[in-house]
């Protein structure tokens, strides 16, 4: 992730119904319909925007509850984060259902350290009397957390600044690693050297070991494919709408 990139890449991940597409539309100005149901974003949409002289390509991943390969959608999202190695992965969380939403954020943190957590629907949470200690959350997760309300276009400047700082390398993250029980940790330890041997340092070894222990066959299949080839296969709905910069 060097500075001679003329374009940075951002992946947008999150549960369904978290306002992910609203944020996507807001950032890119892409004329795209936002849906309200599970898996509405069937293939992923792509858009572009500029901020502080940098141009960004942002990919809206399918809305999923998890990345543990329960469905084709989850595989697409997982493979994108692992193989396309976006410069920033934005995880959008629903402030009114943080507990369930955090599951996905934790999974992403195991895969990459270039993560910004975006707590959306802050306005609704406030209405429902839910108070979220953003600072504490950020401390716990070890990555920047930005409260926003995509609907009301609140917090977007702060989000963009955080993205800008992250791609410039001004933010050091220390993503939370979940500690599993002893038995699992021991198994991970045993497996990690072999993972490194077979797959190399290019991918997060601990995470892959964990997925293998979980019996995730589809991941190995994806790994076995030439990653570049995979990237070509991903259906793109490219729409260059870079005219609207925020």
């Amino acid at each position: 992730m060097s500075n001679n990139h003329n374009q940075y890449t951002i992946a947008l991940a999150g549960n369904p119904n978290t306002g992910k597409s609203t944020l996507f539309n807001l950032l890119t100005g892409l004329r795209q319909h936002t849906g309200n149901w599970t898996g509405k974003t069937v293939a992923h949409a792509e858009g572009f925007f500029d901020y502080k002289g940098q141009s960004y390509q942002i990919t809206d991943l399918p809305g999923t509850y998890s990345l543990y390969s329960n469905s084709a959608d989850e595989e697409v999202a997982r493979d994108f984060i692992i193989f396309a190695k976006p410069d920033v992965t934005l995880v959008v969380l629903d402030a009114t259902a943080l507990e369930r939403n955090l599951n996905l954020a934790l999974q992403v943190l195991e895969m990459t350290s270039q993560v910004i957590v975006c707590v959306n629907l802050m306005d609704e949470a406030k209405k429902k009397g839910i108070q979220i200690d953003i600072h504490k959350l950020s401390q716990k997760l070890g990555v920047p957390v930005v409260p926003i309300s995509a609907r009301n276009e609140e917090g977007i400047d702060q989000l963009l600044d955080t993205i800008d700082q992250m791609v410039r390398g001004d933010i050091q993250t220390n993503p939370l690693q979940i500690s599993y029980n002893r038995a699992i940790e021991e198994k991970i330890e045993k497996l990690v050297p072999f993972v490194k041997q077979v797959i190399g340092d290019h991918y997060p070894a601990r995470w892959i070991a964990l997925r293998l222990l979980d019996g995730d066959m589809s991941l190995l299949q994806s790994l076995q494919k030439e990653p570049r080839q995979f990237l070509k296969e991903v259906p793109h709905y490219a729409c260059n709408c870079s005219t609207k910069s925020i």
């Binding site: 998890s66 543990y68 329960n70 943080l98 507990e99 369930r100 599951n103």
Partner: protein, 86 residues
Amino acid sequence: MTQAKLERLSDAKPGERFRIIKIAIEGTMKRRLLDLGFVPGNEVLVLQKSPLGDPTAYRVSHTTIALRNEESSNIYGERMRNEQQS
């Protein structure tokens, strides 16, 4: 608490709360249920049945999820009958 006292989520009535103890479903569906917050130890509020009687909507982890009888009858736990929560 004895095993014999386990009840099915599908038997809980709208308005009742239910504490999950065991999920007797295997594979992907179990995964999905766990992802959605149907986790042993967690509490579920039965909201209402669909007009035709099935599926039923539950509040779990501050979200509303509908399950069919096939699934909810394999989720075991204890009913908590302090109905008037409103």
